[in-house]
């Protein structure tokens, strides 16, 4: 072999090693995050209802409508309440809900800003005792429920401080803070279910509707695929008996 071809040969090998190094670096990148198998937005909802049965006489909102705190959503004509009020058994001011002064109808109001999720009793229907008339998603209660299929070592690399970021259907990203990690059996494996609250998302924006499918990416801890090698090398340099 001439000097030139020898040089070319060695240069080629270095080049191959560089390629593998770059690929390994890329591998470290994709192995330092976990991608969700399934993730969708969810939100805490409040139930709106009454202890008194009665007829829904007025319905001011429809499902999906934005509501503000204190807004009257429904009015219910309740015969038992009416009777109790006229007989003086109860007084309007002692009730946990407001009552119209003129008609004695029960006024159901939104306790916080939000979006109407579901209406169980529409105008004209009869609400039984303790019936939930509607549920409302409150603002700032948006969170994501993401399922991950993690290998045992990867599971060891997450905790509540792990960073999670969401890719929305319109390709924007959102950061979220984990508040719950649980395990759920799914088929022949176990899914890690992570719930994380969105920081700056407004539920009244339709892009953040509950049920929106998203892609969650969770940052994993520092240990990674070559950990075994590092641990082994560390062992080599440890004095005996330590």
């Amino acid at each position: 072999m001439t000097f030139g071809s020898r040089f070319r040969f060695i240069f080629g090998i270095i080049f191959v090693i560089a390629i593998v190094a770059a690929l390994a670096f890329y591998l470290t990148g994709i192995m330092s995050v976990a991608k969700s198998t399934k993730a969708e937005l969810d939100a805490a909802s409040i139930s709106i209802g009454t202890d008194y049965p009665g007829l829904v006489v007025k319905q001011n909102v429809e499902e999906g409508d934005k509501v503000t705190k204190g807004q009257v959503l429904f009015e219910i004509q309740s015969a038992p309440l009416n009777e109790a009020l006229t007989s003086g058994t109860v007084s309007a001011s002692s009730l946990p809900f407001t009552v119209s002064r003129t008609t004695n109808y029960i006024q159901l109001v939104a306790s916080d800003d939000g979006v109407v999720d579901k209406i169980n009793y529409r105008a004209g229907s009869y609400v039984p005792v303790g019936g939930i008339v509607a549920t409302v998603y409150t603002v700032n209660s948006l969170y994501v429920t993401a399922n991950f299929r993690l290998s045992p070592p990867d599971y060891a690399r997450i905790d509540k401080s792990s960073k999670i970021s969401l890719r929305m259907p319109d390709n924007t990203t959102q950061d979220a803070t984990i508040f719950s990690i649980s395990l759920v059996r799914n088929g022949d494996g176990v899914d890690t279910v992570v719930k994380a609250r969105l920081k700056n998302a407004d539920i009244t924006d339709f892009r953040f509707s509950v049920g929106t499918p998203v892609e969650a990416t969770m940052q994993l801890g520092k240990t990674t695929w070559y950990q075994g090698l590092i641990t082994y090398i560390e062992q080599l340099f440890k004095p005996l008996g330590q």
Partner: protein, 555 residues
């Protein structure tokens, strides 16, 4: 172990006999079913993996399966003895009446002097035959052996050494053993040019070409000339068998050749598409002259000449008789160069004048030439398949759905492949893992050949096993890179598997590929050491002789 001609002939006979067995039909039918089952499996949407590796795998496997099916078809169609009544009748009358049917037995008892001057007849007319031995820098002892054997061939003929090496030593040797010597003034167009020059200066009705390393059996003309009773026949090709199976390269390359000649070339007879391989071939001069001589514009003059002859409507015959024995490449350098030359020739034809669209050929011939000239694309298939495990290791991309159990894939895969192994065992009497390894590690040669053919780049030509010393690492550079890449990938894959405690098929496959390339690199290393040692010894004992490089012969 070097093998004797008789041994080689016996094994060729055995293979020819085994091939006609109905069991071969059964094995090939199963293999065909296996191919379709596997293809169907690959195409199932449910088993599809990630798009990139899936596409790569599909491309590679589709090519391999197509080539496989074409060869099954060729093998199944062949298995017919090309000798008909006409042939046998002509053979009985070859040496004129007095010798008759037992001619060959009589000749065997005669003096070589007498036997090699018995006149031969075709259609009752005396014929003249020339034997050409094109040489170019081969060792003189080898040429002498070949020339002596050529001279002793039964039947009246003239023997010529066509020296492109312009060696006075060879000329003196020719004179001494009394064979003709032709040296042309200008060495252009390599071997084809050499033969064309000889054709212009000789006049035989037929000519036999023997490469410098091919020692002919005396019966070679007796076995081939009678075929020319058919006026449309342009050439009779006999196999290239080798008696040197001394190391890794020669053993593996030898088996590769045996499979080609025994199973494929013999099948091509039925398609009238047996092609010339440049040596051990008897041509009808008038046929070759009708296409303007041997095709000189390419290093693969042999297959181009066959193609032109078939276009002209001539017939060709291949017979499996081992009538001359040569030397297969013993060094990686020789092997690489030979493969590069063959593959470049194939690609040239495929790219320049694709046989599939050659109007003058029959459909049978078009398909056969297409199968032959597209064969070396297998290099690309090997490359794609090599890339699949690293894609899984570095990118987590899998060609088949990860939910599919591996044994299922293995089962589907085996139908096609196992039956081919069974075929090899049944017909060839065994299978050489080394050959599979060598054909896999040859992929860079084939890819290089493709680009050479595409860009019309020329490669220097050397005779098999001649140029004295050159480090094999100059020829296996890419294979060493591939080995380093695979080795590092296996290490990464191993650490990854330890970390995730999941053993993937990709890792096993990648490790196997690493082993194959590693084995090859070790072979290259030990060959390099051996050659170095040999060179030192030669330097001590004799003066180093340089192979003459002629202007115009190489670039």
């Amino acid at each position: 172990m070097p093998k004797s001609t008789d041994e080689l002939q016996n094994s060729a006979n055995r293979i020819e006999k085994q091939l006609t067995s109905p069991t071969v039909t059964l094995i090939l039918t199963i293999a065909t079913f296996g191919a379709f089952i596997y293809l169907n499996y690959l195409l199932q949407p449910a088993y599809r993996g990630d798009p990139l590796p899936y596409t790569l795998a599909l491309l590679a496997e589709f090519f391999i399966i197509t080539q496989g099916l074409l060869s099954f078809w060729t093998i199944l169609s062949g298995r017919v003895n090309p000798r008909n009544y006409e042939y046998h009748s002509a053979q009985a009358k070859l040496y004129d009446a007095p010798l008759g049917k037992s001619a060959i037995h009589v000749l065997k008892k005669q003096d070589a002097e007498v036997a090699s001057t018995v006149p031969m007849y075709v259609h009752h007319n005396p014929i003249s035959v020339d034997v050409f031995i094109p040489v170019y820098g081969e060792p003189i002892d080898e040429i002498r052996n070949t020339a002596k054997a050529a001279k002793n061939i039964y039947g009246l003929h003239e023997t010529y050494i066509l020296d492109d090496g312009a060696s006075d030593e060879v000329e003196a040797m020719a004179k001494k053993i009394d064979v003709n010597y032709i040296r042309r003034p200008v060495h252009e167009n390599a071997k084809a040019g050499n033969i064309n020059y000889a054709l212009a200066n000789t006049s035989g009705d037929f000519f036999l070409i023997l490469d410098a390393d091919f020692v002919a059996d005396p019966t070679i003309l007796y076995e081939t000339i009678p075929f020319f009773e058919n006026d449309k026949l342009a050439f009779v090709q006999t196999p290239q068998f080798y008696d040197n199976q001394t190391n890794f390269v020669s053993t593996a390359a030898n088996f590769m050749q045996n499979v080609f000649y025994s199973l494929i070339q013999s099948g091509k007879n039925r398609f009238n598409a047996a092609f010339c391989v440049g040596t051990n071939v008897v041509f009808r001069r008038s046929a070759v002259m009708s296409i303007g001589g041997m095709h000189a514009q390419s290093k693969s003059e042999d297959i181009w000449t066959s193609l032109r002859l078939h276009e002209r409507g001539f017939d060709s015959i291949y017979i499996p008789n081992v009538l001359s024995v040569g030397k297969t490449p013993e060094t990686l350098m020789a092997y690489s160069k030979q493969q590069l030359r063959w593959a470049t020739g194939s690609f040239e034809i495929f790219l320049r004048s694709n046989p599939l669209f050659m109007r003058k050929l029959t459909v049978d011939q078009r398909l056969q030439y297409f199968a032959t000239t597209s064969y070396y694309f297998v290099g690309f298939s090997v490359l794609l398949l090599l890339l699949l495990p690293p894609l899984q290791i570095f990118f987590n991309l899998s060609p088949i759905a990860t939910t599919i159990p591996i044994w299922q894939w293995g089962l589907m895969y085996s139908g096609f492949y196992v039956s081919q192994l069974v075929l090899a065992f049944y017909t060839m009497g065994g299978f050489k893992f080394k050959t599979l390894m060598l054909s896999n590690v040859s992929f860079p040669i084939y890819i290089k050949a493709f680009f050479n053919a595409l860009t019309r780049r020329d490669q220097a030509w050397h005779a098999t096993n001649t140029v004295s010393y050159d480090s094999p690492f100059n020829y296996v550079r890419i294979q060493v890179y591939v080995f380093v890449f695979l080795l590092l990938t296996t290490i990464v894959g191993l650490l990854k598997a330890l970390y995730t405690s999941q053993l993937s098929i990709s890792l096993i496959w990648n490790a196997l590929n690493t082993f194959v390339f590693g084995y090859f690199v070790v072979m290259a290393y030990s060959e390099g050491r051996y050659l170095k040692k040999q060179r030192k010894q030669t330097k001590k004992t004799t003066k180093f002789k340089k192979v003459p490089i002629q202007e115009g012969v190489t670039s």
